[in-house]
Amino acid sequence: MGLKQVSAGRIARETYKIDLHDEDLMIALAGNPNTGKSTVFNSLTGLKQHTGNWPGKTVTNAQGKYVHRDQRFVLIDLPGTYSLFANSVDEEVARDFICSGEPRVTVVVTDATCLERNLNLVLQVMEITDHVVLCVNLLDEAKRKKIQVDLPALSKILGIPVIGTNARDGAGLEALKDAVYQVAMGQIQTAPLRIRYGSAVEECLNLLEPIVKGIVDKNVNRRWVALRLLDGDRDAEALFTQLPFFRIRESKELSDALALADQMLLEGHLDRGSLRDHIVTCIVAQAEEITQRVLRCEKQNYNDLDRRIDSVLTSRIWGIPVMMALLGLVFWITIKGANYPSQILGTGLFWGQERLTQLFLSAGWPDWLHGLFVLGMYRTLAWVISVMLPPMAIFFPLFTLLEDLGYLPRIAFNLDNYFKKACAHGKQALTMCLGFGCNAAGVISCRIIDSPRERLISIITNNYVPCNGRFPTLIALATVFIAGELGSHQSVIASLIILAAIVTGVMITLIVSKLLSKTILKGIPSSFALELPPYRKPQIGRIIVRSLYDRTLFVLARAIIVAAPAGMITWAFANIYIGDLSILQYGANLLGPFGRLLGLDGFILMAFILGFPANEIVIPILVMSYMSAGQMTELDSLQALRELFLANGWTWLTAVCTMLFCLNHYPCGTTLLTIKKETQSIKWTLITFAITTATGIILCFVVAQSARLLGLV
């Protein structure tokens, strides 16, 4: 042929950075978003990829390994897509990967409760490759809705193995592994159903297929290539850039045949403009026809319950109040529940500090060593653990519960028009939800937005959602300072304050998005469709394990890694004197006047600057700066914190401004690095830094000065 054969696995290794050994068989996992694809992936490979009940979780290729019947398999989790027409980056990635010809088998995961639409993708995958296994997942949900799928009939119609699974409890996975093994080893010969596109198109395909055979260098389905040539860009060079993984030789024969095909299409009342619609219509009609043959619903309105829930959760009157109430409830449970364990942890850890001090004293180690390790490192760690761990261990499972139920897309739906008015993408609300956990994760999740302009807006504004690193700061300040001032019902008032902080954050997000859309990121919102997935029964056990293991411990570990050195550095800064003043005091004095303009003080600003690596350590640094500046109290309760702050001249205004600045300042180091990576641009990273910080400075300045002018403090 004169064309170079691409060696097996090379694309996978080089383009997708897949860790592939020669004896490994590569399996691709495709499917619509939100069909439990990630759960299937996790169950097969034992990896703990985070799953959630909203579309677009798999934002990047994930790979995992498993062994079945002594054969090693590498499983690649492709992004969830509705089709393979390459309308989005995700679709392009999925299609390119499948048609690279390298996956030995492609498993398509489908949702049994929504089979018809899912079959669209199945039919399209079957056009590219013969080696397909269909996994009909979520059978328990289907059963609950009294939907029955005739799997053997479906398998017969499609000509490929069809396996029913319920990946969440592992049912059917062995059968799935068997089927994959058999197809991969050629023990099962598949005979995929071919979609018929009507006589005009079929004649064109008959004309093109033999020509394609001579000029394509890979074992890709020739009918599919012919269809793409007919449908897409005609010249082979363009197709090559579209489909990077195989080569089509320029040939006069091909261009002649394509010209002839155009004629034939016209005779069939089709032209290039209407051909795509015609093709999709044929696929959808085929899916519809198959569904009618294999699906039986005992109940006509099997989605009634979902509709009824939605009619409250997304209703015009109740939608937003219920959303607020739910969030408020989550915060209240977090604050109320975290109070007691925090105290116990605090008491225990500070008891430990005394023992350590005794140890250092009795061993006769120098003071500076004691200061650095016990007063600096240990105390910061103790604070981070006792104040951060309990709220996180409560907040994350609750939030994951909402995610698992399928509530997050409803939040996006409820707020969509506000985002539209801000010229932003509707899915931005989803990325903000992820920002609650960690802004770096939120920034990565912005990949679900295809339009580069709207993606940048989401990335820049993601930091206005307080991540878990800033939650404890907000909770501590709200509880001890503002709610404490008012006496009773502390946790209720604190919850309301946090809720107000979130609403402020959302409003700032909308305003900044709008401003960006009108200035440096001009444009109108791109089109999109947001799927509101069916509500699903949450898996309580998994939620707890997942949210504690994946999120809580992960975040805590990161906080500890950062807090340990930061605690030592801060102690050193606070205790190394130049002349009469410590380094910390020099800094604080320098920043003091500016801080006071913003309703803060020099130490608070120093704490935010030193807290750049991770927001979690802002309060511990602040506490240390205050304590080293004089009062050596034992800080074992939130009440003590309040007294320490009061002694350093705090008022309610200082607390409000600190909370506002906490909500609106530069993203932490990790998030900035992520932004740099995602935008591939130092410019946008710096712009994000500048915009978020400016927001905080302006906001604090306005609030502090207004309060002072009005004589409120």
Binding site: F85, G426, P525, E531
Partner: protein
């Protein structure tokens, strides 16, 4: 749109308008899809 299975002759049911207005949730082939008015207005419908 076509990806959602929205082809000529598909039955669509409008379910719910978003509390913030404009966006409407539709039932299309068993799935609930929210569309903004810009997109929805490009679909010709006939009352059943």
């Amino acid at each position: 749109m076509l990806d959602l299975g929205l082809i000529c002759g598909t039955r669509v049911e409008a379910l719910q308008k978003s509390p913030s207005g404009d966006t409407v949730a539709y039932e299309i082939r068993g799935a609930v899809i929210a569309l903004r008015s810009e997109e929805a207005s490009q679909i010709l419908v006939e009352l059943l």
